[in-house]
Symmetry: C2
Subunit: 314 residues, 2 copies
């Protein structure tokens, strides 16, 4: 039996002294030119292999630069799927490398489907793929991530297969509750007849789904995605889900700062990891004294600045 | 400017005289043993390549057997992601082969994210991936599907990038409205203060999102997923979304028959495509006179039986 995901997350946050999650959302046009040029020189018949190789090298640079000061990385899979199978190879390698450097990983894939299909997603990202029969049987993890983001529109039986995969494996999930985007209210803020908004109903559901699986540090392996761009709603959700770890997008490029992030934390300073993607991995574009060649050092600098900014909260 | 997706769908349904969508959800343990054995003999260092090759050959057999009698196939991507990058290669090849055989394709991926990330998904599945700059620039479609399923939990700005990709390209989307699974009511049936259920609110949203882009045959390129397992709700949704094509899961293995599917159609017999996955691709397991070797013929037979069953509706 592996250590509980909630405990692993708290341990990682304490060890690194940071609650920052680095979002690895590589866009080819923003990757330093020397990395793209290098991959182009190595060549391949398939341009997507060339692009994906540059993406992986970019990620390795970022991971090397930040792995001793942040606990978690979150590669957003859309930016890899755009390169087809080659992109998925880069995604698998990114997760593997991050793990080898002692980082926890979140697959940001927002997967969702009916139970039998959700099982396949859960096995793919958190569990193992069983192949063939008899003597030829092999069991291999396809992605072997520590956790994955899940969209709850299909309800309980679409989420449960992911939870089943987390039981005893030390893995976790983050269920979308209140997202950081401008239109998130279209559905999530709808007032239900009971008087609560839909995101509050979702909060109660996530709280109840995680209630039976709380680790020693007080957190469930069922986390929640709660955007920093809606601090009032986050405040309510913090109360509704006291034992739920929040994955908090919206800091930086999406507009939220330390003040907006504050309501996502519990009083002990735990309970939230704050994601920053563009503000860290492309910090070289904006931070004085850095350029394309020093993109990794710039990312490290941005993590240190973000840590100082978040320190204002406590 | 390509032909409008709604018109392409109606034309395909009329040409084939069928509204059946074949769900390509290959599970290795249900794929005929001779295909798995053949792929094992061909070998590879990576067992996932071996498994994915068997999956692709299985799909090609099904596609060859049904392409002249059904208009659409819908591979569910979870069953490919479980084999990592090798699975994605099989997925890309499946889409390509289906297209070469004159079938329309639906990527059943239920993707969803904030706008900037949804753009990447839309480019990946419906559009093209642009790589490199200057003389070295190449533009290649990663998946080149005709349509994709989309989950609406994030609201309008998470759906719009998919719609933008459909403009003038002849592509379409199917937005989850009322899903076929047992727990779909957890969120979708919640009563909103206005008196409507959440799925009805979603129906109105999908109707309005598609209103500006209706093809000559009267259907928008914004479709909806409406499960056959909830016929009462489907009846209401048919009225709310008169110009929306429904992608209808739930027939067969999930329990719905012709009577349950009926409310999904408009009076002209159009407006819905009915998916069947397990009941067609694994028909050889249950249909008399067929075995593993004749799985493709069994799939064809199951499509013909299903067509006869659905003919009762009109």
């Amino acid at each position: 039996m592996s250590k509980h995901f909630g405990d692993r997350l708290v341990a990682a946050v304490k060890e690194k002294g940071s609650c920052i999650c680095v979002g690895l959302d590589p866009r080819l046009e923003q990757i330093p030119k020397h990395l793209v040029e290098k991959s182009l020189k190595e060549g391949d018949d398939n341009p997507m292999v060339v692009a994906a190789r540059a993406v992986l090298e970019f990620n390795i640079g970022i991971i090397d630069a930040v792995c001793d000061i942040v606990p978690v990385v979150k590669p957003q899979i859309a930016f890899y799927e755009i390169f087809g199978a080659a992109g998925i190879t880069a995604y698998q390698e990114t997760l593997k490398y991050a793990k080898s450097k002692g980082l926890l990983t979140i697959v940001d894939a927002k997967r969702n489907d009916i139970g039998s299909t959700a099982e396949a997603y859960a096995e793919a990202y958190l569990g193992e793929t069983q192949m063939f029969e008899g003597e030829k049987q092999v069991v291999i993890p396809a992605f072997d991530a520590d956790s994955i983001t899940v969209t709850p529109y299909l309800g309980w039986d679409g989420v449960k297969p992911f939870m089943d995969e987390c039981e005893d494996s030390g893995k976790g999930i983050f269920v979308l509750v209140k997202t950081s985007n401008k239109s998130s209210g279209d559905l999530q803020d709808l007032e239900i007849k009971s008087g609560e908004a839909l995101y509050e109903v979702m909060g109660h559901l996530v709280d109840s789904w995680g209630a039976d699986d709380i680790g020693e540090m007080g957190y469930s392996f069922v986390g929640a995605v709660v955007g920093a761009t809606f601090p009032e709603q986050a405040k309510k959700l913090r109360k509704i889900m006291p034992n739920t770890y929040f994955l908090v997008p919206g800091y930086g490029a999406q507009g939220a700062g330390a003040a907006e992030v504050k309501p996502c934390f519990n009083k002990d300073g735990l309970g939230a990891i704050v994601n920053n993607s563009r503000g860290i991995i492309y910090a070289y574009e904006k931070m004085e004294g850095f350029d394309e060649k020093s993109y990794a050092e710039a990312a490290r600098g941005a993590c240190i600045s973000m840590k100082k900014d978040l320190a204002k909260i406590f």
